[in-house]
């Protein structure tokens, strides 16, 4: 099985981007690229070729679910596992996000100490199911 190395995180809040980079790079040893808007994420993903994409749900303009839809329609990116980052984590909400094609949901606020671990385990279960 290959290792998870490259992660793209799409998030409109700069504070959260900064702490996520720290959490994923320093604690998790991952290579991270950040993107602040859903509509810019596709071009960046084409170039960066991430193994996993994290999407904030509520973003101005193109929100998380619309970005996911666009990714799913993109020939090169359609199989990249996507997880949502959101404060809405009631059971029915999680089910809804999964029905859109996300491999999982990471609850906000996230703990910087364990974020990388959460991302890895979501990626591994997706890989085991043959999503990637």
């Amino acid at each position: 099985m290959t290792e998870l190395v490259r992660v793209l995180y799409v998030e409109d809040e700069p504070d959260i981007r900064a702490v996520a980079r720290l959490a994923l790079e320093v604690v998790g040893g991952l290579t991270v690229e950040l993107c602040e808007r859903g509509d810019l994420a596709l071009a960046q993903a084409e170039r960066f070729d991430p193994q996993m994409i994290l999407l904030d749900v509520m973003m101005p303009g193109m929100d998380g679910p619309s970005t996911l839809k666009a990714l799913r329609e993109h020939p090169q990116l359609r199989h990249v596992p996507v997880a949502f980052m959101t404060a809405k984590v009631q059971a029915h909400e999680i089910e809804h996000f999964k029905s859109l094609g996300a491999v999982g949901v990471i609850a906000k606020p996230f703990d910087p100490m364990t974020l990388a671990q959460q991302v890895r385990s979501l990626w591994q279960s997706a890989a085991a199911r043959g999503d990637s």
């Binding site: 809040e13 504070d15 959260i16 900064a18 702490v19 720290l22 320093v26 604690v27 509520m58 980052m85 959101t86 404060a87 906000k108 606020p109 996230f110 703990d111 910087p112």
Partner: protein
């Protein structure tokens, strides 16, 4: 920079933005009670709350995240529902108040376990590690005071001129400012200071020193809010004790209120109102659980609805009064009862005061605050020794009994120590009882400074002290107490121009899970170890059975 330092830097950045975020939310919250329904503002409010809920916890502010998420969900319900207009009006008013109070949830996360475990290397005290500034142009006196303050674990800074102090004060402010108000060189006195910009802006608690005692100077000091006025030659231990008292008052825990009311919205409104005034409260809807809840929450005061569906407030108060430990608990009734005879009848049955509904907001806050202050003072008088502020003999014995029961159940280790001042009779005979009292008070102050806030300290007898150190073994306790013993030995006392120092002997006994000893025996063991320490030449610590 290490990960932790970087994380801390990001947390600080976020905290710096927080006041603006919260003030935006407060601004939008007003739309909740506006006459015209402003959909755009309310949506923007929901969005802000959602963002806050999702981010604050990542920056170490979990309580704020949780509260924001809760309010976000309630706002959603409020906006979605085809609500009953009465409910909508009450709920939106409550939500607005709660949104205004969000800042009270912005305290950084506490590390798990309120009671820190003592490790062997932790010999640093956990007393009130506060910043104390000192203005004194007599450099000799100044540095001696400085040394004393530092021995008691304060971070102290000495300024020798008023100009120097003013300059530093513009940048940061200490918790306590001790000022000599009659500086020789600059000739400034209290009345000139009154007009100076410095004290007008002062956030610090003030203690004044003066070479001259006169009523007018004291009056002026009082009007400036000074909490102490000391005349030269200075009684340094007394001054340090005063600094400590001022800080203790400053850091007094928030008032805890228990609200017993069957009207849920109203109870929550009271809760928010009290929170806005910095008080903590819990709501009890099932009156039959009151004794259980009192034991869990230990409130300072109970606010009780007089007319509840199944039980009257006065009967409930009478039940509370059947328990000896709740005899002194203030109970204030809230009621729509206007008939003075009915009010008196209710007061007769265990209530302390009566507030008529609808209660004026400011009146409620003042009534609760002043009652709590008084009842805390009374409790202090009942349980604390007046000279040292430590627990009295009976109370410390009760505390040790209680800790023993808890430790036995939970399988914790704890220590009991007995301390005794060496040759105390000689101090009294040579320098008089006033000086002897000063030495006793200094033991208490230094103990409080060097031990953890959760340790229990008592004055056991004349010059004998008992200490209970929870969740800590003999090795760790020994490190802390040895450090205390040495620091005490280094303190210089003065009386009639003679300077002297005093030593202390300590006996320590440890309780380990599985040991078949009761609290009484532990105290006896500590006392035996103390006797060994005395016999071996005093000024030392002995561990029982070691």
């Amino acid at each position: 920079m290490s990960f932790n330092e970087q994380l801390l830097a990001l947390q600080r950045q976020y905290s710096a933005k927080l006041p603006d975020i919260l003030s935006d939310i407060r601004g939008l919250a007003d739309a909740l009670v506006a006459d015209k329904h402003d959909t755009q503002k309310l949506e923007s409010l929901a969005e802000q709350l959602h963002k806050l809920a999702g981010s604050a916890g990542t920056f170490g502010l979990s309580a704020l995240s949780t509260q924001a998420a809760l309010l976000d969900r309630r706002l959603e319900t409020l906006l979605a529902a085809d609500a009953d207009p009465d409910w909508y009006r009450n709920e939106s008013r409550l939500l607005q108040t709660e949104l205004y109070n969000l800042q009270h949830f912005a305290a950084p996360d506490q590390l798990p376990g309120a009671r820190p475990a003592l490790s062997g290397e932790l010999a640093k005290g956990e007393g009130l590690a506060a910043e104390v500034w000192l203005l004194e142009d007599d450099e000799f006196l100044g540095s001696s005071l400085l040394a004393h303050l530092e021995a008691f674990n304060f971070t102290a800074r000495l300024f020798t001129s008023y100009a120097q102090l003013t300059e530093a004060y513009a940048l940061e402010q200490p918790e306590v400012l001790v000022m000599d108000v009659l500086l020789g060189a600059e000739g400034r006195s209290v009345d000139r200071l009154q007009y100076s910009g410095l004290l007008k802006k002062a956030q610090s608690r003030l203690i004044f020193i003066s070479a001259r005692d006169d009523f007018n100077a004291r009056l002026q000091a009082a009007s400036l809010g000074a909490e102490g006025f000391f005349i030269k030659p200075l009684d340094v231990p007394k001054l340090v004790t005063r600094v400590e008292q001022v800080l203790t008052r400053l850091h007094a825990p928030a008032e805890r209120v228990l609200i017993v009311d069957d009207d849920e919205l109203l109870a929550r409104y009271y809760q928010e109102l009290l929170r806005g005034a910095g008080m903590e409260s819990d709501i009890l809807h099932e009156p039959e659980r009151i004794i259980e809840v009192l034991e869990q929450k230990y409130p300072d005061i109970v606010l009780m609805d007089l007319q509840m569906p199944d039980i009257s407030g006065q009967n409930l108060a009478a039940v509370v009064r059947q328990y000896e430990q709740w005899m002194g608990l203030p109970i204030v009734y809230l009621s729509a009862e206007n008939d003075p005879r009915q009010q008196l009848k209710a007061l007769n049955q265990g209530g302390d005061d009566f507030l008529t509904k609808p209660v004026d907001d400011a009146h409620l806050i003042t009534a609760v605050k002043s009652r709590v202050v008084r009842s805390r003072q009374l409790l202090e008088l009942m349980t604390k020794d007046s000279l040292t502020g430590l627990l009295k003999h009976a109370t410390i014995k009760d505390s040790i009994n209680r800790e023993w029961a808890v430790a036995k159940r939970k399988g914790d280790t704890f220590c009991v120590a007995m301390l005794d001042i060496d040759h105390f009779k000689e101090v009294n005979d040579r320098f008089g009882h006033a000086t002897g009292d000063e030495v006793i008070a200094s033991v208490a102050t230094l103990l409080r400074q060097r031990l953890r806030a959760t340790d229990i300290l008592g004055r056991y007898g004349g010059e004998e002290f008992a200490v209970l150190m929870a969740n800590c073994d003999a090795m760790a306790a020994k490190v802390v107490l040895e450090d205390f013993r040495q620091r005490f030995q280094d303190l210089q006392f003065t009386s009639e121009d003679t300077s002297f120092s005093v030593t202390i002997s300590i006996g320590l006994a440890e309780y380990r899970p599985g040991m078949d000893v009761d609290a009484e025996t532990l105290l006896v063991n500590a006392d035996k170890a103390l006797y060994e320490a005395k016999k071996a030449g005093r000024n030392r610590l002995m561990v029982y059975g070691a």
